[in-house]
């Protein structure tokens, strides 16, 4: 019989303990498959954040380091400079990357560090119980904005892809979603691209994935999908924001709205 699927060797044979409908598991799978596909398991080092993915080291079957909240891009920088042959990726939530670690990501991007960043945007601090993050949508209810995010007090959400795309450092920035099979395929392509860039020594690559956190959103997984499609994608259009030296080549949003 023809074997159609096997677990990537870059993932351990261990069931994910993320909540039902959570996107972390899907993204772990894509990253694991990518590392296998590109044949870099023997030189990949992953950086786990503080956030729900703190346990990423339990699932990836590669060397991992778990580091304090927000610091992955700086740690990745040190790691890559010390071991340039390693394939270094950070995997970070929106609290980690867009709140407490904003300085680190901006400066790693500005320096054009040759690393791969997977940015999991689920619009809140999942691990600590669903508080407002900089990425929380206007009016969105969280445990620290029980009346909804009031932009007069809390400002408007950060769009990290758009922000980082203004810098000269990065070579590749794309926002994807994992809400449908087709978007999962696109996300897979983007993540493969982000790793390939590093392998080819091209520089800083950043993939933002709009992700679901049904538990802290207080929604069923199905409703959470709708929230990603109807609310998050409006504020955070999917697409390529920067791509230097490829056929696509321009800041654009050509994959926008693929629901």
């Amino acid at each position: 019989m023809h074997k159609v699927f096997s677990r990537p060797s870059s993932l351990k044979d261990k069931p994910f303990r993320y909540c039902p409908g959570c996107s972390h598991g899907v993204l772990h799978r894509i990253v694991g498959e990518t590392i296998d596909l590109l044949g870099v398991r023997d030189r990949a080092i992953g950086i786990a954040p503080v956030g729900c993915a703190v346990f990423a080291y339990d699932y990836f079957n590669i060397d991992m380091i778990e580091v304090p909240h927000g610091r992955p891009p700086a740690i990745a920088t040190g790691m890559k400079r010390s071991r340039p042959e390693a394939i270094v990726f950070s995997y970070q939530g929106d609290g980690d990357l867009a709140a407490i670690g904003t300085a680190e990501i901006v400066h790693a991007a500005a320096r054009g560090e040759n690393i791969t960043v997977i940015f999991v945007n689920n619009g809140n601090y999942g691990m600590t119980g669903g508080q407002m993050a900089p990425t929380t949508l206007p009016g969105q209810k969280t445990t620290t904005t029980p009346g909804g995010r009031d932009v007069r007090l809390a400002g408007n959400p950060l769009r990290m892809c758009e922000m980082l795309a203004t810098l000269d450092g990065p070579v590749y920035i794309e926002r994807v979603s994992v809400d449908s099979p087709r978007n999962v395929q696109n996300a897979t392509k983007a993540i493969q691209r982000a790793f390939k860039n590093q392998i080819e020594g091209r520089g800083f690559s950043f993939v933002e994935a709009l992700s679901m956190c049904p538990t802290d959103w207080g929604l069923t997984p199905k409703q959470a999908l709708e929230w990603v499609r109807n609310s998050m994608m409006k504020y955070y259009p999917l697409g390529v924001y920067k791509d230097i030296g490829s056929a696509q080549g321009v800041k654009g949003q050509e994959r926008m709205g693929q629901v």
């Binding site: 503080v50 304090p68 927000g70 407490i100 904003t102 600590t128 119980g129 620290t144 029980p146 007090l153």
Partner: protein
């Protein structure tokens, strides 16, 4: 006595502190969530959203910014509070010194949790001990009631004109922050009256007397500033005693610089901070029934440390076991060092040091019994086999 009008409730430590903060109604409260203190901010933002406080909450992007925003708000004349734990406090460290150096009476609810690495979210005192030298007043609380009461008293202490220093109220992560206890709330009006309105001393924006805060001070004056901070700390001791006495008069619950539990005639004494004291009290009672003169000394105020008073309270003991829920690796535990300094002028008891409960490891009654047994032995022989050792740890 107001005790008759108070309300008995069943709440967690975090809810108790959030309730105290609601009653204190600070002008500004910046915070960034971190387990196990997150519940305080969550309850508090609900109060804001329900219009129960006048506070501006600021959902900042990190603890470094939280403490920075506290400093800005306080320098501008506001009454300010925040809440944090462990890594959050560690990230604030630079700003902790700025807050005290500017002499700003900021209130922090510090829900004690172990510092990384290895990553751990449970309760120990490594965070609180790390701010020992930051010139913050440090109060410790055995349970939710004490955390609530300490919070209610905090501004009165910190804002006193002879003090003007920031203050941190500690309670144990999870063991207290997340456990429900029955306790007593003081009615809003009485809290309001007890705490009083805040009159900031020399806040910014006084165009008749323009000034700068935080100016460069070189070797010619730096020491005078630091000496003034030390004196303010020393003054805080009396202020804490006075405020606590007034609190006891009004609300019936007595606090001082430390708690003495069956200490009067005690020959074997345990010393511990925060929630462990509850377990120890039970075991002290048990040993007392067996005729052992056991006792407990539980410091409430860690900075300023009441050396003379603690020294006097321990001078007749035969052996003292100082229990540290944090370590100064390669040195003695931080509480042990204070107790050793306190008894040093007396020909006091034999001291020894046990490190326990790091990263939230439980302290069981049997563990306490073993410590009391060892203390009895040390009292008998006049010698401790090992001055410092970890307990309940694998070899």
């Amino acid at each position: 006595m107001g005790a008759t009008t108070t309300k008995i409730v069943a709440v967690t430590g975090n809810q108790a502190v959030a309730e105290a903060l609601r009653q204190l109604n600070p002008d500004v409260m910046p915070a960034y969530p971190i387990t196990p203190s997150t519940g305080i901010m969550e309850s508090f933002t609900k109060f804001v959203s329900d219009g129960k406080v006048d506070t501006e909450t600021i959902l900042v992007e990190s603890e470094h910014s939280a403490m920075s925003a506290c400093i800005g708000a306080s320098a501008a004349g506001g009454r300010v509070a925040t809440a944090t734990s462990a890594q959050g406090l560690a990230l604030m460290w630079e700003m902790l010194h700025i807050a005290s150096g500017y002499r700003l009476p900021i209130l922090m609810a510090l829900v004690n949790r172990a510092l990384s690495a290895p990553l751990n979210i449970h309760g120990d005192h490594s965070d609180g001990m790390g701010m020992r030298d930051c010139s913050w007043i440090q109060l410790f609380s055995e349970n939710a009631q004490e955390a609530y009461d300490n919070t209610i008293m905090a501004y009165r202490i910190a804002e006193h004109k002879d003090v003007r220093l920031p203050i941190a109220v500690n309670m144990d992560g999870f063991i207290i922050s997340h456990s429900i206890e029955s306790m007593t709330f003081i009615p809003d009006a009485e809290v309001k009256k007890f705490v009083g309105d805040y009159i900031a001393i020399d806040p910014l924006l006084d165009i008749d007397h323009p000034k700068s805060i935080g100016a460069l001070v070189l070797p010619d004056y730096y020491m005078e500033h630091k000496r003034a901070q030390h004196e303010a700390m020393l003054n805080a001791k009396k202020v804490i005693s006075d405020v606590s006495a007034e609190f006891a008069r009004l609300f019936g619950r007595k606090y001082d610089l430390f708690e003495s539990y069956r200490l009067e005639d005690a020959e074997v004494v345990l010393v511990a901070l925060n929630s462990a004291a509850g377990t120890i009290k039970d075991e002290v009672d048990r040993y007392r029934e067996k005729g052992v003169k056991a006792g407990l000394l539980k410091p409430r105020v860690f900075r300023p440390f009441p050396y003379e008073e603690v020294g006097a309270a321990l001078k007749n003991a035969k052996a003292v076991c100082v229990m540290d829920r944090a370590d100064s690796y390669g040195g003695y535990g931080p509480l042990f060092m204070e107790i050793a300094s306190a008894v040093q002028p007396h020909r006091g008891p034999v001291l020894f040091n046990k490190v326990y409960g790091l990263g939230g490891r439980d302290l069981m009654p049997l563990d306490v019994d073993q410590l009391i047994d060892e203390t009895i032995e040390v009292a008998k022989t006049g010698k401790a086999k090992m001055v410092k050792e970890y307990i309940t740890v694998r070899n």
